[in-house]
């Protein structure tokens, strides 16, 4: 199968000039220090790492904004920084700081502008636009000025904008940040649906472990400009994302909980913090047990923070991970859907 | 009294931090003064006169230095008052009527004086380079030093009034714009009153604009006693009139604030 993206030993150094009084000191910063990866067409990849890890720099090189210091990259058969405009027609981008939607006008006007920017034929544009409106449920606010929309509505419209010209690869940078739980899930569903049904390759960066689990099938962790982990989400999940943290507050002292896979992390008065191994015990069972042992006043369910997950990755032996092997895809697909 | 002086001083000190603006003022003044030098040089030559409107070429350029310095030193009085009206800060002060205008005057005067001084310094250096020093006369300078603070005070009262219009108008920037442009044209920023069409001169000597801009500049370059006296009277009368209007408007505003519940 052809690769949508292939990167080989990509390096990007910046020269950082600092002023100390009257003198200038130059230091070289290795933002990207030899990244090699390849992504097949139709894959859905999460590209994660702490701030300053080199994520945005890599994406900028893949989208043609930045020229690398050395190394090669190929996106859909184009060298991004050499064939920027040709590639731009075939990729879609949703970057956090950048909003394509015109703030004082309804999304409909931005759609029309985009059809002119990308020179989409009118009939193609209309049918694709109407399909996006239907699938993303935009009709209720299509004619409302963007400044009046909620963040969730805006993000749906933004993602729809990035798909209007029928790209084969989309780059999404923190698309769910700031969204409430429902909006977040809606957006995740839309993106993964688009990936599955339209075969669009998805390249997603996020700080949210939930994004990774629900949208991506593969995760690449990058730190200090290098790839430190490149594996299927299901496997990473098995290792690091299996735990959920439940914070429960009871009306009075509950009975003690004794369930395999549930560990009590903290206890203070009527407030408890449980750690649940979702692969050892189904969450449904845990929930009913929690309700059974006492009268629940408040409950919060959280994924472990990504920083913790990444820190955990470093402490695990390196022989556990390697390049993605194209085996047992069906089994993993079933697992990641749960 | 000392309280207001302190406010003025603090305002000056904070403006000193904005010395970076000096560069842009310099370039602008340089361009304007240079261009007018060219224009007047040509005009004096073509009309074969050494004195136009009672001013020599040298005096004409120095006249411009003063008028530009006055115009360019304008602080955002109306905007400040407008904001205070809308945020309700002014309403809170209405119980002690005199402190707010005096506060505002002290605050903006510090700014204005410093700004004027800087503009004047820069403009003088440029004028010295272009046409050389003016034939200084002490009386002219003295008259100028007397008229300038009154000019600023008068300008202040009018802008203050415009700011008060915020009680009734949605937006006072239109009024501010119109008044500032009228000051430029009818105040004789670019041409002294003597060169206006005859019919105009009579009217303009009554209107406040020339008392703010033309007056101080004219006496600075010629030390003309007649001009000085008429401008002085013009300024004093205008200040009294506008101060009176402010009082009335203030009371109206007070009534409006209390009837609307503050």
């Amino acid at each position: 199968m052809e690769n949508a993206v292939s990167v080989s030993q990509l390096v990007k150094n910046f020269v950082l000039k600092k002023r100390a009084g009257m003198r200038w000191t130059e230091s070289e910063v290795k933002a990207v220090d030899g990244i090699t990866l390849s992504i097949e067409k139709g894959q859905s990849v999460a590209f994660i790492g702490p701030n300053g890890a080199g994520k945005s720099t890599t994406i900028k090189m893949l989208t043609g904004i930045l020229h690398p210091t050395s190394g090669e990259a190929n996106v859909l058969g184009c060298v991004p920084w050499k064939e920027r405009t040709r590639l731009a027609k075939r990729i879609g981008v949703v970057f956090g700081q950048r909003s394509q939607l015109w703030y004082h006008l309804p999304p409909r006007d931005t759609f029309e502008l985009l059809s002119k920017i990308y020179e989409i034929k009118q009939d193609v544009f209309k049918s694709r636009r109407d399909m996006l409106i239907e699938r993303f449920q935009l009709s209720e606010f299509l004619d409302t000025p963007v400044r009046k929309l909620s963040l969730g509505q805006r993000m749906r419209a933004e993602v729809a904008c990035s798909l209007l010209h029928g790209p084969e690869v989309i780059f999404l940078d923190e698309p769910t940040i700031g969204l409430d739980v429902i909006a977040r899930q809606e957006l995740r569903d839309l993106i993964s649906e688009w990936n599955r049904e339209n075969g669009v390759t998805v390249f997603l960066t996020s700080h949210d472990a939930g994004d990774i689990q629900h949208v991506a099938r593969r995760v690449i962790v990058i730190n200090h400009g290098r790839v430190v982990l490149d594996d299927r989400v299901s496997r990473v999940r098995r290792q690091y994302l299996r735990e959920k943290v439940l914070s429960v507050k009871y009306a009075d002292t509950p009975e003690s909980i004794s369930l395999d896979g549930v560990k009590t992390l903290k206890e203070s008065g009527h407030a408890f913090k449980f750690e649940v191994d979702t692969l050892a015990v189904p969450i449904e069972k845990v929930m009913s047990e929690i309700m059974r042992i006492g009268s629940v006043v408040d409950i919060t369910i959280e994924d472990p923070p990504l920083e913790e997950v990444i820190a955990h990755i470093y402490s695990a032996p390196p022989s556990e991970f390697g390049e993605d092997a194209a085996d047992d895809d069906d089994a993993d697909e079933n697992e990641s859907k749960s | 009294m000392s309280k207001y002086f302190y406010i003025a001083l603090t305002s000056i000190r904070s403006r000193l931090a904005y010395l970076g603006e000096l560069g842009s003022k310099t370039i602008f003044l340089f361009v304007v003064l240079y261009i007018f030098l060219c224009l007047w040089k040509v005009t004096y030559a073509e009309t074969n006169q050494s004195s136009l409107g009672g001013l020599s070429l040298k005096q004409m350029l120095w006249y411009l230095v003063v008028t530009e310095s006055i115009i360019m030193s304008l602080p955002t009085i109306a905007t400040l008052v407008d904001q205070d009206v809308r945020t309700g800060a002014l309403a809170m002060q209405l119980v002690r009527p005199m402190s707010y205008p005096l506060n505002m005057l002290a605050q903006t005067s510090g700014e204005r004086v410093l700004s004027f001084a800087l503009n004047f310094l820069v403009g003088s250096i440029i004028a010295l380079t272009f046409v050389g020093p003016l034939d200084f006369n002490i009386s002219g300078i003295a008259m100028f030093l007397l008229l300038i603070p009154l000019s600023f005070a008068l300008d202040f009262t009018i802008y203050f009034l415009i700011g008060l219009a915020a009680f009734w108008l949605e937006d006072t920037t239109g009024l501010t714009l119109i008044y500032s442009r009228m000051t430029m044209i009818l105040g004789g920023m670019l041409i002294p009153l003597e060169l206006f069409p005859d019919g105009w001169q009579q009217i303009l000597r009554v209107l406040p604009f020339s008392a703010i801009v033309y007056g101080p500049a004219r006496v600075f370059v010629t030390g003309d006693l007649q001009v000085f006296l008429s401008v002085l009277i013009q300024q004093i009368v205008a200040i009294l009139v506008f101060a009176f209007v402010i009082r009335i408007v203030y009371n109206l505003a007070l009534r409006r604030v209390f009837s609307h519940g503050g």
Binding site: V15, G64, A88, D109, E119 | S24, C38, M184
Partner: protein
């Protein structure tokens, strides 16, 4: 050729959406236009007063100055009505907003310039034409030539704004420097050209090309001189090319990531 139609279509799409966006705040739009009108009118008032007292200066009368203002104001207005981002270029470069424009399948410069329309520029544009028609009362040939010269001056102003704005690729304080240069350019462009002699005159034909706004177009209209009109167009194109080159040289530097500060 198809490149031309492609970008003409892009331009009309942007003009349409920019206008719509400005209309969304009709009140502010109109008041900004009116404010510019008043600002510009002050100068016409000044010149009328001046020329009442001094009817002819170096062969220029009040009609000539009004012609000059019509060309300069409408030219500046047209330039920034359509390519309003020319004024915002230094800020766009320094805030890394170029990246957004680089993601589109379009040549960066024309696309980003079209991205915004300056509301007050519409006032400038209308002012010049209105004042010319009312004061000079032109016949059709003169009016047509006026429109052509307005387009020429618009091209020049875009080129100049791009040139000075592109300084942001090379220096940190480009925003204030380019504002100063722009103010100087506009100021020099709105005074009768014959008053400038010698070294300054040369300067105004080269580094600060105000003569291509104040001298050549006005004399072209005065004498219906096609030569002067051609010189005006030539000068405008020259400034435009200088701006384009400056921008793309800077862009090369930007894309290699060697800007003064590292972008996030």
């Amino acid at each position: 050729m198809s490149w031309l139609t492609s970008y003409a279509n892009l331009a009309s799409a942007y003009i349409k959406i920019n206008f719509k966006s400005l209309l969304a705040y009709r009140g502010a739009f109109i008041s900004q236009m009116v404010a510019m009108f008043i600002n510009d009118f002050v100068w016409i008032a000044f010149w009328c007063l001046f020329f009442t007292r001094f009817p002819v200066v170096k062969g220029w009368g009040v009609n000539d100055v009004i012609t000059l203002w019509a060309i300069a104001a409408s030219g500046f207005g047209l330039a920034h009505m359509i390519m309003g981002n020319a004024l915002a270029l230094p800020g766009i470069i320094m805030r890394g907003e170029l990246d957004s424009w680089l993601l589109y399948p379009r040549a960066v410069l024309p696309h980003l310039l079209l991205g915004k329309s300056s509301a007050s520029s519409w006032g400038d544009f209308l002012f010049g034409i209105v004042v010319y028609v009312i004061f000079v009362k032109p016949d059709l040939p003169h009016f047509t030539l006026l429109m052509a010269l307005i387009c020429s001056v618009a091209v020049l102003f875009v080129g100049f704004s791009v040139f000075t704005g592109s300084l942001a690729f090379f220096m940190g304080s480009a925003e204030s420097v380019s504002t100063q240069l722009r103010i100087a350019m506009i100021t020099f462009s709105t005074y009768p050209s014959p008053i400038f002699q010698g070294f300054v005159k040369i300067l105004l034909f080269t580094l600060l090309p105000a003569m291509f706004v104040s001298h050549l177009p006005v004399s072209a209209l005065r004498n219906m001189s096609m030569i002067d009109a051609l010189y005006s167009f030539g000068g405008a194109l020259g400034v435009l090319f200088a701006g384009i080159i400056m921008f793309y040289v800077g862009l090369r530097r930007y894309e290699s990531g060697n800007l003064m500060e590292m972008r996030g």
